[in-house]
């Protein structure tokens, strides 16, 4: 769109009619209505607020966020950052937020993969495959999620105790205490290798962009993968080697009541993750199916007539169009998964709701506690929405 194409008369300001102070002037009516509505809403909010404050006062219930700096004293089983019961409520709540994010992020990635596979399977020409996928979707979507979570948790608890733990491979133990895996003892060299890997990805991306620009200019395709492998895999390994190549493995071993060492995936996290992923995948499968079906079969035929290979048709013709249909409902499934993760309380995974509930129980400050929960979910949900909207805008068909 360029301004040159606009009729110059449109650029002139429309003449402004003066406001008449009369009911018959629709603008006056509009203002009056708006003022009344805002005043009403404002009064209701004010009334609720003052009533609350008064009642808290009468009952001498503590208020304010001062409690955040007090010692929490509550035990937390899983934490991504160091945590001790002597830490503050603020830190305990932060641990809760991170636990929520952990299950949400891993859950969204896995649910997308599983959902896409099932969605495509449902379109398969193979009768058995498509019927199994359809059955999965129907069953999973019709059972309450809470029930499914409790089901998975019960299964986890049915595993043998630590002394009879399943030991399929050396160093791997599966018991009702969780899945124990060996883990390297993390050192500076590992952090450096990780950073090198990230740098490698960025450099590869830059190179690919340049290669594409050059291809546009001279029509010569350039191979990207040799450099990509060198940068993304070779560079980190060299870095790690250069720093001494430490490789000390922490093997889990049964000591006393439990396994010590290694890394652990708790039954609570596993049950929640499996429950959320399998449930949400059922919905995502339908979204993916609808997206693919929305692309007219003529597009396939036309693309094939142009001589494009199957993969290229999918990647260049079908997917960009299907994604336009897929992304918006996919976003709401991501939001659902995140919000559904609050069912964690039922099976003892300490997410933000669990920890905020305990905090408000111990401090008695229910309003502050609920406000914190709301703020956290709102922030996470808005971030997901914003990101998905940005992505949606990026992949939207650009009409030229």
């Amino acid at each position: 769109m360029s301004d040159a194409s606009v009729d110059p008369r449109f650029r002139r300001k429309p003449p402004r009619r003066p406001l008449r102070l009369s009911w018959s002037d629709e603008r006056v009516r509009g203002i009056v209505y708006q003022v009344v509505v805002v005043a009403l809403i404002g009064s209701v909010i004010y009334w609720l607020w003052s009533n609350t404050v008064h009642n808290l006062e009468v009952r001498r219930i503590a208020t304010g966020f001062g409690f955040l700096q007090r010692e929490a004293g509550l035990p937390i089983a899983e934490h991504l950052i160091p945590y001790d019961p002597t830490d503050t409520y603020l830190r305990a709540l932060t641990v809760g937020v991170l636990n929520t994010l952990k299950v949400a992020v891993v859950g969204i990635v896995l649910a997308t993969i599983l959902g896409t596979i099932i969605g495509i399977a449902r379109l398969s020409k193979n009768f058995l495959v498509s019927k199994i996928a359809a059955f999965y979707v129907e069953v999973i979507r019709d059972l309450p999620l809470l029930l499914q979570l409790l089901f998975w948790y019960t299964i986890m608890q049915g595993l043998p105790g630590p002394r009879q733990a399943l030991n399929p491979v050396e160093g791997v133990f599966l018991s009702n205490r969780g899945l124990k895996l060996p883990w390297i003892i993390w050192e500076g060299a590992h952090t450096a290798a990780l950073l090198a890997c990230i740098a490698g990805i960025v450099l590869t991306w830059l190179y690919a962009r340049q290669a594409r620009a050059k291809q546009m200019a001279d029509g010569q395709p350039r191979k990207i993968w040799p450099l990509a492998i060198a940068l993304v895999i070779g560079l980190p390994i060299l870095t790690w080697q250069a720093m001494g190549g430490p490789w000390d493995v922490d093997w889990p071993a049964l000591r006393g009541f439990n396994f010590q060492g290694g890394t652990n995936m708790s039954p609570e996290f596993a049950a929640l993750l499996i429950g959320l992923v399998t449930y949400t995948a059922g919905f995502i499968a339908e979204v993916v199916r609808a997206g693919i079906l929305s692309v007219n079969s003529g597009q396939w035929e036309a693309a094939q007539a142009l001589g494009l290979r199957h993969g290229s048709v999918l990647r260049l013709i079908v997917m960009p169009q299907a994604l336009r249909v897929i992304i918006p409902p996919l976003t709401s499934n991501y939001l659902n998964l995140t919000k559904n993760s609050s069912l964690a309380v039922a099976i003892g995974y300490q997410d933000i709701v669990s920890i905020a509930n305990t905090t408000l129980n111990q401090t008695g400050q229910a309003i502050e506690g609920i406000a914190i929960i709301m703020a956290v979910y709102l922030t996470i949900s808005l971030s997901i929405s914003l990101f998905m909207n940005w992505y949606n805008a990026r992949i939207a068909l650009v009409e030229r």
Partner: protein, 365 residues
């Protein structure tokens, strides 16, 4: 070209924004004025006056009593759906004082975690739900504890097959605990003081935390010893579980009400003392009728409402205590009926006057 009012140039857009801003300013100004005007009117609104819990309960016709979600011996629905137990009987005693009718109670099951919000928000009138009296609950949470009807302490239960005999052997163990309890806080205090490391499993609902312990997710389950005994009695094979001898805290349990209504707090408090007092005087469900007529002890006469106006001071019928005892028995009878069958002995909850225990009632005067 996209549809929409894109025909306007930059100037047109600026003008629109400017008008909008002006409108918004006007709107904001008007709102502010309206709000200021409505302030005094609203501020004079009488907020719920204090001291009316009893009136509200009477007007409603039922006492709403927060209890456990189901703990044998304390509060649990029987096969007919009737709540039975020590805590449930305390609710009934207050209902008899107010309505002369033990059935005028609505029992609301509360978890350890949501009980306080239920009481603060007025969803229940009182809690009778093995709740420990602590300083913060008595002050900043906004409650008044009305007495201690069960002196308890925190303990641990393990499976006999685990072969653990003392709490200090639990170093490195996984321990199941309910959130929102003094239990979880005591556990961390205890582990710190004794240098014991443990892995917590924190589950809100009682049945699920017990199920996790039974399934072997945890090596030990910790809560008030009374709760352990109740849970153990409900297991198919109670003898498979042992309650360790160590008691790591004091858990004085009792009913509680909201701050700001002394009359109701007084009533609940004296219902408890009345039950203790009756046992001290040997008044039981069986003999209360006769005692009311013939007992010559002045304090008994005052308590049973034949003399004086103690009932009136509390705002209830003079025969309140006589009726409670006729309906439910005295403290010892309530205890024996509910707690002894599940293997909780009287222990330190015996009367001070006759058995050197901790239960003791102030004078009825």
């Amino acid at each position: 070209m996209r549809p929409g009012p894109a025909g306007q140039g930059a100037n047109g857009r600026d003008a629109v924004t400017a008008t909008r801003r002006l409108n918004f300013l006007r709107l904001a100004g008007a709102t502010a004025i309206t709000a200021v005007l409505s302030l005094p009117a609203l501020a004079q609104q009488p907020a719920a006056p204090s001291g009316t819990t009893i009136d509200a309960i009477r007007a409603r016709g039922t006492l709403i009593c927060g209890v456990n979600t189901g703990l044998a011996g304390f509060a649990q629905p029987d096969s007919q759906g009737v709540w039975r137990g020590f805590d449930a009987d305390y609710c009934r005693a207050v209902a008899i004082a107010l309505f002369n009718d033990a059935s005028k109670v609505r029992f609301v099951p509360t978890t350890a975690q949501n009980r306080f919000t239920a009481l603060q928000s007025g969803e229940v009138d009182m809690l009778s739900r093995n709740t420990t009296w602590t300083l913060s609950r008595d002050t900043s949470l906004g409650f008044d504890f009305t007495g201690i009807n069960f002196y308890d302490g925190q303990g641990f239960m393990v499976k006999r097959s685990l072969g653990v005999n003392a709490a200090r052997d639990l170093n490195g163990a996984t321990i199941c605990v309910q959130p929102g309890t003094t239990t979880e806080q005591n556990l961390t205090d205890w582990s710190r003081a004794n240098n014991i490391r443990f892995q917590p499993v924190v589950i809100e609902r009682l049945e699920e935390v017990v199920a996790a312990y039974v399934a072997g997710r945890c090596d030990a389950y910790t809560t008030d010893v009374s709760g352990l005994a109740a849970t153990r009695s409900a297991q198919p094979r109670p003898a498979d579980h042992v309650i360790l001898p160590d008691v790591i805290s004091k858990e004085p349990l009792g009913p509680l009400v909201r701050h700001g209504d002394q009359r109701f707090a007084d009533l609940v408090r004296w219902v408890h003392f009345g039950l203790i007092g009756a046992e001290e005087f040997g008044i039981t469900a069986a003999n209360v009728e006769e005692a009311t007529r013939t007992d010559a002890r002045p304090e008994v006469q005052r308590m049973l409402g034949r003399n004086g106006d103690l009932g009136q001071m509390l705002g209830v019928d003079p025969a309140w205590m006589a009726r409670i005892i006729r309906g439910l028995g005295n403290y010892g009878e309530i205890y024996a009926r509910n707690l002894e069958p599940i293997g909780i002995p009287r222990g330190r909850n015996a009367l001070w006057t006759t058995a050197g225990g901790l239960q003791y009632a102030p004078p009825f005067r």
